[in-house]
């Protein structure tokens, strides 16, 4: 095992291969507060990539309701149970909070004979992709209505977690493959299974803690999310981004924190404002899909899932209405199918720019509000307005 630096842990860690970061790293920010679990993303992916024989059960993109939704069943709980002592320490340095992970990653706690700590889902574990959908964490008493206040009182909360492969900086799938069939593209950090080389040992399926590699019984190989690389190569965001109804997603590229650029949308949200956080950073993979945590969920839950930055991230996000830059950048989500690797706010407008600096889109930070009168004079009918 080599020693590598994982900025999400604030420390060095052990990994099967030496540190070798790609020239650019594909990354994304998902705003969990905006997801409506319409599964349009899931279907956009399914019809594009996994409509073949043997791919029926595969959801490279899935959306599960937390806390009781999982795909595959209990994917996170099973591993969290195997990994003990997930403790973080906190230090103040020049007015900044520095968090260090004091526990063990899945690489550091690999049992004898293994490259990573993992487990294997069986086919039955994939059979309930909608388990726990819209189930609350707690009981909702008879007659209680769903006000935010009630949610706090009754602990009756849930939220939607949209998941794709994290195109990790330290992929466990790649580390687990004994024959080097998985590779990380140097040009964009996208992690791919070489379908010519894979022999279907399913070590990657066992190793990936996010369970985002799937075995195809009919081709005998393992398959996974490819971040729609043919689209990215043309400067267009992946299918699950372009088709997202809730406009919760933004694709781009991320730098390491020391090289963070304020005009790079992902860097700005992750490194500068720290409003978007990795999924289970304690596992040690440096995953590259970042989540704006749900604001109404008890932090004890979201801290385990998104790390110790949750309190500050929620505070910053709640303050977005008074924060024109943050509010502006959030307005860019879902505003264009193009990859916007840079952004700029000018007054009440925000622009997303392509790699070459040309403007891909310009949107108002606040959309104008139109109030439609119930009675339509033109057609002489009355319509109901939904609140």
């Amino acid at each position: 095992m080599a020693r590598v630096h994982n900025w999400q842990l604030g420390r060095e860690m052990s990994y099967w291969y030496p540190e070798s970061r790609p020239n650019k790293q594909f990354a994304a920010v998902f705003d969990t507060n905006k997801c409506i679990a319409c599964q349009t993303c899931t279907l956009a992916c399914k019809t594009t990539w996994t409509s073949g024989v043997g791919q029926e059960y595969m959801l490279w993109n899935n959306v599960e309701t937390k806390p009781y939704g999982f795909y595959p069943l209990a994917w996170d709980l099973k591993l969290l149970e195997m990994l003990d002592g997930q403790k973080w320490s906190e230090k103040e340095y020049e007015g900044q909070k520095l968090h260090t992970y004091e526990g063990q990653t899945i690489f550091e706690s690999a049992p004898a004979g293994e490259r990573v700590l993992g487990w294997r889902p069986e086919d039955i574990d994939y059979a309930y992709p909608n388990v726990g959908e819209d189930d609350c964490a707690g009981q909702v008493d008879g007659g209680a209505s769903f006000s935010l206040q009630h949610m706090a009182q009754h602990m009756a909360w849930f939220y939607y977690l949209a998941r794709i492969c994290n195109h990790c900086t330290y992929p466990a799938c790649l580390a687990a493959c004994p024959r080097g069939s998985i590779y990380k593209r140097p040009e964009d950090g996208i992690v791919l299974v070489d379908q010519g080389r894979c022999r279907g040992y399913q070590e990657c399926v066992k190793g990936c803690p996010y369970k985002k590699v799937f075995f195809n019984a009919m081709t005998g190989t393992s398959e996974k999310c490819i971040a729609c690389f043919p689209k990215i190569e043309q400067g267009i965001q992946p299918q699950c981004f372009e088709n997202c109804i809730g406009k919760i997603r933004l694709a781009g590229f991320i730098n390491t924190p020391d090289k963070a650029q304020a005009d790079n949308p992902i860097d700005y949200l992750v490194h500068i404002r720290k409003v978007a956080l990795p999924l289970f950073p304690q596992l040690g993979l440096e995953p590259n899909v970042y989540y704006i945590p749900p604001i109404h969920v008890p932090h004890s839950f979201t801290k385990q899932m998104f790390g110790p930055g949750v309190d500050d991230a929620v505070k910053t996000y709640r303050n977005a209405p008074n924060d024109p830059d943050l509010q502006g950048l959030l307005a860019l989500f879902g505003s264009s199918e193009q990859m916007m690797t840079r952004w700029r706010r000018q007054g009440d407008f925000v622009s997303g720019m392509r790699d070459d600096g040309s403007e891909a889109v310009r949107v108002p930070i606040k959309e104008p509000v139109h109030v439609r009168q119930p009675y339509d004079r033109l057609y002489q009918i009355t319509r109901t307005n939904c609140p």
């Binding site: 073949g52 022999r199 019984a217 081709t219 005998g220």
Partner: protein
């Protein structure tokens, strides 16, 4: 009790057990390939009864990660017959369960025969060779055997109750069996598009491979290897037939190694039971 006496008792007990279950079998300390006019392809061919057996002890693959930590199959019983061009190995091992349906977390019963690619004094590492020390491997798998024996290559075989809305290649606009339909089906099977031999249709339940060390296994040009595996209640009996190892004339010696994967124990790839090198003697017609 001194060690010599202990050894004698052990040997006596061993021969008792052996003679107890198969009275006529002569066991040898090496694999001796007897020369006959034709190599039998069926595991139950009477010709095998005349051939001595080498009981090869299986060891854990516990040298490279991922390792096998829990021993499963203890021994593989090997017999060999050659016709001067080809050599057939019959591998038999105990296995109560038949594992031949692929799927997530499901692994196949399998076995393999390995020989050095070159006949030289300095043999490659028995663990799949090393740099510049190539080994040739012939690999048999239970699900491929089932396919060759006629099991349709269909999802319904694995999940009989599966109901599938439809596939893009079944679209009404695509003519059945047309090039456009094949193209569409291949689009959703990238491993097939790349010619990966994991994908059917399958003509033989074996594949020829070469390796230059662990993790380097790659397809060899098809060398016409054949196999037939049959499962009884007690275990597998598999005949793997391949061309004679390079430059191996009748009467000469080389090395051979074997591996067995027990699907029910989730053995796959590096997680396997294997032997070290076992001497292989090619008996010529004259030495019979």
């Amino acid at each position: 009790m001194n060690n010599t006496i202990r050894l004698f008792i052990a040997l006596a007990l061993f021969s008792l057990t052996v003679s107890g279950c198969r009275s006529t079998v002569a066991t040898t300390t090496e694999v001796v390939a007897i020369q006959l006019n034709a190599v039998p392809t069926a595991p139950n061919d009477a010709a095998w009864d005349e051939v001595p057996e080498h009981p090869a002890k299986l060891l854990l693959q516990d040298l490279v990660e991922p390792r096998l930590m829990k021993a499963s199959t203890a021994e593989v019983r090997v017999r060999a017959i050659t016709n001067g061009n080809e050599v057939a190995f019959r591998l038999e091992w105990d296995d109560k369960s038949k594992d031949d349906l692929p799927g997530p977390a499901r692994f196949m019963d399998a076995c393999a025969v390995q020989v050095p690619a070159k006949l030289e004094a300095n043999v490659p590492d028995p663990q799949m060779g090393g740099q510049g020390k190539t080994v040739e491997i012939t690999y048999w798998r239970a699900d491929w055997q089932a396919a060759v024996d006629g099991r349709p290559d269909s999802l319904k075989e694995i999940y009989p109750n599966a109901s599938i809305d439809g596939y893009p290649f079944e679209a009404k606009s695509l003519e059945k069996g047309s090039a456009a339909q094949t193209e569409m089906a291949t689009r959703y099977a990238p491993a097939r598009a790349l010619g990966n031999r994991r994908v059917g249709p399958r003509e033989a339940p074996v594949e020829d491979l070469i390796a230059d060390g662990p993790g380097s296994l790659s397809p060899a040009p098809p060398a016409g290897s054949k196999a037939k595996g049959v499962k009884s209640d007690n275990g597998w009996s598999v005949v793997i037939t391949r061309k004679l190892p390079n430059g191996l004339a009748p009467g000469a010696r080389t090395q051979v190694a074997f591996a067995v994967w027990e699907g029910a124990q989730q053995e796959t790839g590096a997680r396997k039971m294997r032997t070290g090198w076992v001497p292989l003697l090619m008996k010529g017609a004259e030495t019979k």
